[in-house]
Amino acid sequence: MPIKVVYIDDEEMLCQMFKEYLQSDEIDLAVFTDEGPGIEYCNNNNPDLIFIDYRLKKQNGTDVAKAITSDSIKVLITGELDVTMDACFIDKIDKPYRLADIKNFITETVMMKSLPSS
């Protein structure tokens, strides 16, 4: 079963490259530049991992994370220098990030999650 990952960022090019780099048999990736459809998708599909950018079009990342009711692992992505991470996130990744690191992060985090639960 592929890992279900969602990336929400209003920067279209970031979404595209995320998709191009990470989409594979192991990772089922959905990307959204608008937070509304992103929240809706997450609430319906219960992904394993959600990356949420802090600055979105109408809301900020924290508000979006709180609007997502699934028990998915949420990671804050930000280009800000000083955004405090809300407790609903398990981690924060600063922009610019390396896609290779993201890939490792996905596999490691999901493995970690699956280990104690199994």
Binding site: M13, M17, P96, R98, L99
Partner: protein, 614 residues
């Protein structure tokens, strides 16, 4: 019967006598007159004998002369009787008569003397006496100082009656103001026959004081011995009081100038001699030596070396051209202390020539030191504010840079990942995306660089208001986005102004940032930027959703260190810097009170003498 010799003696006596001798009858006719009569009155003997005596009299003296004749006729002697006779030339002469009637013959024998001159002197004395009695405070004392006579004025001013004064000495009105030696000196002088004059303070009966200018005169008898003294006095109480007031005013002035630390000085152009007030000596800490005046070169040397040429030139120009000056300089006191002073000078003309230069000298050391410190602090604070603004800007711009940086990094990774499988088109597309992101970063960095370079020499260039606002928005976009604020702009396309573009951009960024901060708590967040124009100005209005600033605060918001933000959120220098920059550009910033929202309005003057495009 007298012998012939005797008769001749009597005739001689009669004819040669300087006194006027005559014999008259009781009917009022001269029977005999001696030659003196004709000499004194100018009439011939015949003229005098042919007319009644009354015809020669002054009309006013006819009655009393008739009475005197009647007195003589009744057998009484007449002594020192005076009346006036008309001279042939029609002027009157005063005669003093002694006469008696000879009972046997019924004839009057009389001797007259022309006393016209004496009467004139006597009248003059009488008038003087009357004037003294009426117009002065008059008193007479005996040799021991006991008052023997006073006039009403004396009684009036002293408050004592004549009865109280006469028989007393002047001790009665002694004020105890003068020492005993003062009166001893007066006595020494007048008892030696000299006149004393001077001012004396006396006491009235009711205890009040009065001042008199006194002339004390010793009066001599026929043996040239002092018989008594007279005192003529004038009330000078008002004068003394006004003099006292004047001195008091001077004293107050001196105290005031001392408190205000303002001294005065004057220089005689011809001699270069300086006259200083006490306070000037005090300010410059120069020892005051009686009778010694400082000279101009000494005065100039009291300034520090660097300031000496400045004051020297100013004084020189005042002397030569009458130019006034006011300078803030550093003086070095003789004790070596450096002191900030303000000194002014102006030329004073007399008959068209500059005769003196005068002015003030003020100790401004405390104020100046405070001012210098304040300016240093202010400079420091402005620097801090700039750093703070730059820090804030960097934080929000970081996001704008990190996003394209993320794109660059990501696409580079993709290119690495697909280095063998990628098609040339794929590589081109990806590298184009990378380059585009680089451009985005470059643009932001350029704006930042420009923004931070505000310390360079001010260069005013022609800039479009539209571009200035666009650039400012680039720099604030990140923050606007973070706070999710809706920014709307309406420009005029052709809107060139002459300005230091970095500074004006700084102004707009500052105002936008202020608006953003003001909106943080509001549900409805928007900022409107509107550019309009009048014939003279471009008007930039920056309105945000916040309520307008209360009028009582409007005056102070442009002051340095005024802030409505919480501690740590703002330096309070933003708007003062904004105003300072706009002032330097001849532009004005105000708050539009007709707007229910917060609306800052900048009136920026259009470029004058622009090339006409029509």
């Amino acid at each position: 019967m007298p012998s012939k010799i005797e008769q001749s003696i009597y005739e001689k006596f009669f004819n040669l006598s300087i006194d006027m001798l005559c014999i008259a009858n009781t009917k009022g006719y001269f029977k005999t007159v001696n030659p003196s009569f004709t000499q004194v009155l100018g009439y011939s003997e015949e003229e005098l004998l042919s007319a009644p005596i009354f015809d020669f009299l002054h009309p006013d003296d006819v009655d009393k002369t008739a009475q005197e004749l009647a007195k003589l006729s009744s057998g009484l002697d007449s002594l020192f009787f005076e009346n006036r006779y008309r001279h042939k030339n029609n002027h009157y002469l005063t005669f003093s008569w002694n006469g008696y009637i000879d009972g046997d013959s019924g004839l009057i024998y009389a001797v007259a003397r022309d006393i016209t001159k004496q009467v004139k002197v006597r009248n003059k004395l009488q008038h003087l006496q009357r004037a003294l009695a009426q117009e002065t405070i008059y008193a007479e004392t005996d040799l021991t100082g006991v008052i023997t006579n006073v006039n009403d004025n004396f009684c009036e001013i002293s408050g004592y009656s004549k009865e109280e004064l006469i028989g007393n000495t002047h001790k009665l009105i002694n004020s105890d103001h003068h020492p005993a030696s003062f009166f001893a000196e007066i006595w020494r002088k007048i008892s030696s026959g000299k006149i004393w004059s001077g001012a004396i303070k006396n006491r009235k009966k009711n205890g009040e004081y009065y001042f008199v200018q006194s002339i004390l005169v010793p009066i001599f008898d026929n043996n040239e011995k002092i018989s008594n003294y007279i005192a003529i006095r004038q009330d000078i109480t008002d004068k003394v009081n006004s003099e006292h007031d004047r001195l008091k005013a001077l004293e107050i002035l001196s105290e005031t100038s001392s408190a205000a630390k303002i001294g005065g000085w004057e220089m005689d152009v011809a001699t270069s001699k300086l006259t200083w007030t006490n306070e000037t000596f005090r300010i410059l800490d120069v020892e005051q030596v009686d009778g010694l005046s400082p000279m101009l070169p000494e005065g100039l040397q009291l300034f520090v070396e660097t300031d000496q040429p400045i004051i020297e030139k100013a004084v020189q120009r005042a002397i030569e051209f009458g130019e006034s000056y006011g300078l803030e300089l550093q003086a070095r006191t003789p004790k070596g202390e450096i002191k900030w002073i303000y000194t002014s000078g102006k030329a004073n003309y007399k008959k068209g020539k500059i005769e003196t230069i005068s002015g003030t000298i003020q100790d401004i050391h405390q104020r100046k030191i405070t001012e210098i410190k304040y300016n240093q602090e202010r400079q420091k604070s402005i620097m801090n504010a700039k750093f703070a603004a730059l820090g804030e800007l960097s934080a929000s711009v970081a996001h704008e840079i990190n996003n394209p940086l993320g794109v660059i990094s990501g696409y580079a990774e993709l290119l690495q990942l697909t280095n063998k499988s990628a098609s040339p088109e794929d590589i081109l597309t990806k590298s184009a995306i990378i380059l585009k992101s680089c451009d985005r970063i470059t643009h932001i960095v350029k704006s930042l660089k420009k923004f931070s370079r505000s310390d360079e020499a001010i260069q005013h260039t022609v800039c479009s208001v539209k571009n200035l606002i666009s650039e400012a928005i680039v720099l604030t976009r990140a923050k606007l986005k973070l706070c999710i604020i809706d920014l709307r702009c309406e420009y005029i396309e052709d809107s060139n102004i002459l300005c230091n573009e970095i500074e004006i951009e700084q102004v707009i960024v500052n105002l936008i940032n202020n608006a953003i901060d003001a909106l943080s708590e509001l549900p409805d967040k928007w900022i409107d930027i509107l550019v309009t124009e009048t014939t003279q100005d471009y008007i930039i209005s920056i309105t945000d959703a916040g309520l307008t600033i209360p009028i009582e605060k409007q005056l102070s918001i442009f002051e340095p260190f005024f802030t409505t933000k919480n501690t740590g959120e703002g330096t309070g220098l933003g708007l003062s810097i904004v105003k300072g920059i706009l002032d330097n550009h001849g532009a004005k910033i105000s708050i539009d009170n007709n707007n229910k929202n917060t609306c800052f309005v900048i009136h920026f003057p259009k470029i004058k003498n622009t090339d006409s495009k029509d």
